[in-house]
Symmetry: C2
Subunit: 342 residues, 2 copies
């Protein structure tokens, strides 16, 4: 397989879609970016820069940008969904006519669909009518600590390409892997997708600690206890616990909890500083996935009977008016027990 014979079509025009397009273009792939409408496609083609979500970096002329789904999918070997979780269904419902049945789909979305509690790749299969099919196409997630701006600057990063289909995971590894972007494969798709969804929940809580000036000791303890509870949920849902302790688990969680620019952590910081949720969301640029994901993850915890004290406290802070200070107190004053991950 030659990389230059691969056509990769990216659906979406956010920061990750943009940086993936640049990266795959440098790798020698044929890259097509599918925008949601003609205006957006023309704007990107004209300025060759994603000024809204990734300012300061130029697209090569080789990157095709279009709003014509038929043209975008024609001859594509790999599709990559870069639409945020809660919008996947709406966007893809309009695309299904143009998507050929054999093309495998990867997704970089992190979250859980709020009404269905489905993971991003499950939502995609559902829209494509293949969720219950035995003969469904290969799906994968690409996940890890990937602040788009750092990737665009060529700084080193690692991700996991996870799929139950080993060949598809290896294809993604081959296409994406380069000297500054290291791609591991993992067959635990459930674990990697759940890790990506749940880390935003923990990062929101971590941001609240920042807003309360609670210190790094507290935030690191939250990270460790948060990791334990999301791993517990994962295991109950069929994931492997070690996935949560890998690059797409604790690696992504650490980035999200400590990066000053992260949307979820920053939104949490505003909440910890005393702002109501609606105002905090108004001040945030782009989608704060941790907010709907807190609902979804809390519902999953209930469904699977898993104890998730941090998620529960955050749910009460976000949606039941619990004061963030009391939320933290709830966490700190529970009876300490022998340390355990289970």
């Amino acid at each position: 397989m030659l990389i230059m014979h691969q056509k990769v079509t990216l659906i979406g025009t956010g920061g990750m879609a943009t940086v993936c397009a640049m990266l795959l273009n440098r790798q020698g792939c044929r890259v097509c970016l599918l925008a949601r409408d003609t205006g957006r496609a023309e704007e990107l083609m004209k300025v060759r820069e994603n000024r809204r979500y990734l300012p300061g970096f130029t697209f090569s002329e080789d990157v095709e940008i279009t709003s014509d789904a038929g043209a975008a999918f024609d001859g594509a070997n790999i599709l990559v969904n870069c639409i945020p979780t809660q919008h996947i269904r709406t966007v893809w419902v309009e695309l299904i006519e143009s998507v050929e049945t054999h093309i495998p789909v990867a997704s970089v979305a992190k979250g859980i669909e709020i009404d269905t509690l489905l993971r991003p790749t499950e939502v995609l299969l559902d829209v494509l009518g293949e969720l219950e099919s035995v003969d469904r196409r290969a799906v994968a997630t690409i996940s890890g600590p990937t602040i788009a701006d750092e990737l665009a600057r060529g700084l080193p990063a690692s991700v996991v390409a996870a799929s139950a289909d080993t060949e598809f995971a290896q294809l993604l590894q081959k296409v994406f892997n380069c000297d500054h972007f290291r791609v591991y494969t993992n067959s635990d798709l459930i674990g990697v997708e759940l890790a990506g969804a749940t880390k935003n929940v923990i990062a929101l809580a971590a941001g609240i600690l920042d807003g309360l000036n609670a210190g790094i000791n507290a935030k690191s303890a939250l990270l460790a206890r948060g990791l334990a509870e999301i791993a517990r949920l994962g295991v109950a849902m069929g994931a492997r616990s070690e996935t949560f302790f890998g690059v797409a688990g604790v690696g992504d969680l650490a980035t999200t909890c400590f990066s000053p620019t992260g949307r979820n952590r920053s939104c949490g910081e505003l909440l910890g500083g005393g702002l109501p949720l609606d105002e905090a969301l108004e001040r945030s640029l782009g989608v704060v996935e941790g907010v709907p994901s807190t609902r979804s993850v809390y519902a999953l915890a209930e469904r699977y009977g898993v104890e998730m004290p941090i998620t529960r406290a955050l749910f009460r802070v976000l949606f039941e008016g619990l004061n963030p200070v009391d939320g933290i107190q709830t966490l700190m004053t529970r009876d300490p027990k022998p340390e355990s991950l289970s």
Copy 2:
């Protein structure tokens, strides 16, 4: 058991000894701080503040400060070693005459003794002549994300009290646990001590990334891969892997890698910025435990036949003159494989 009937003697006058004295005093214990000489004891008694290691916080008059080991140990129920790992042997050799055989010893030191490759509690037992004894006293470690300044300000934190002796771990939990300092117990003493020693090694490497301006994606990937390699070593040495994913494992690791003030991370940052090791150490205040620990952990990896690529690369940077940039390259350009913790 009433806490106020417990006399706890802390050996050492660093930041952790100071903050433990303050914390236990507020809990109602009788607290004695054993200084290495009369001058240091008198200085601390006179100013009632540890200006060198924890400026801005006052000792209560109830805290006894002395350089008389006999008086310090007399009637003590618990000893807590707060001497840094590489100095434990020298300091304790002079104390053994005064230490009664039945008093249990906890330690807050993090490291591996460089010549013997013993853990802090093993060094203590060795000096006390009990390492090979079947009837040895109870030993424990107290470990976790504990930046002393934050603890002194009463900010929330969690630690693990680890001992093969469950009763001693529970006694420590009872004595230390309060509303802002949450103490978990853990029977995996080996794991908790190893986690404390190895996290400084990974934090030095993380600091080098900071010095190279490699970004948060890279540092978080290093944290995840570092955690995997220190867990591998731990399992080979008889520890439980889940200990490394708890508060004293990933929690402490995250603090050490991300706290701007951490000595190990900061020293690494100077190295990444181009300073030679001796100059970087000269500029560091206090003990940079990660430097000797890199030697010890590398030696343990060789002895137990465990692959530890980050530790090996750091060893070559610190002691064999490898350029930090090449050290990082070594890590990033190895063939990516399926993700695995084993």
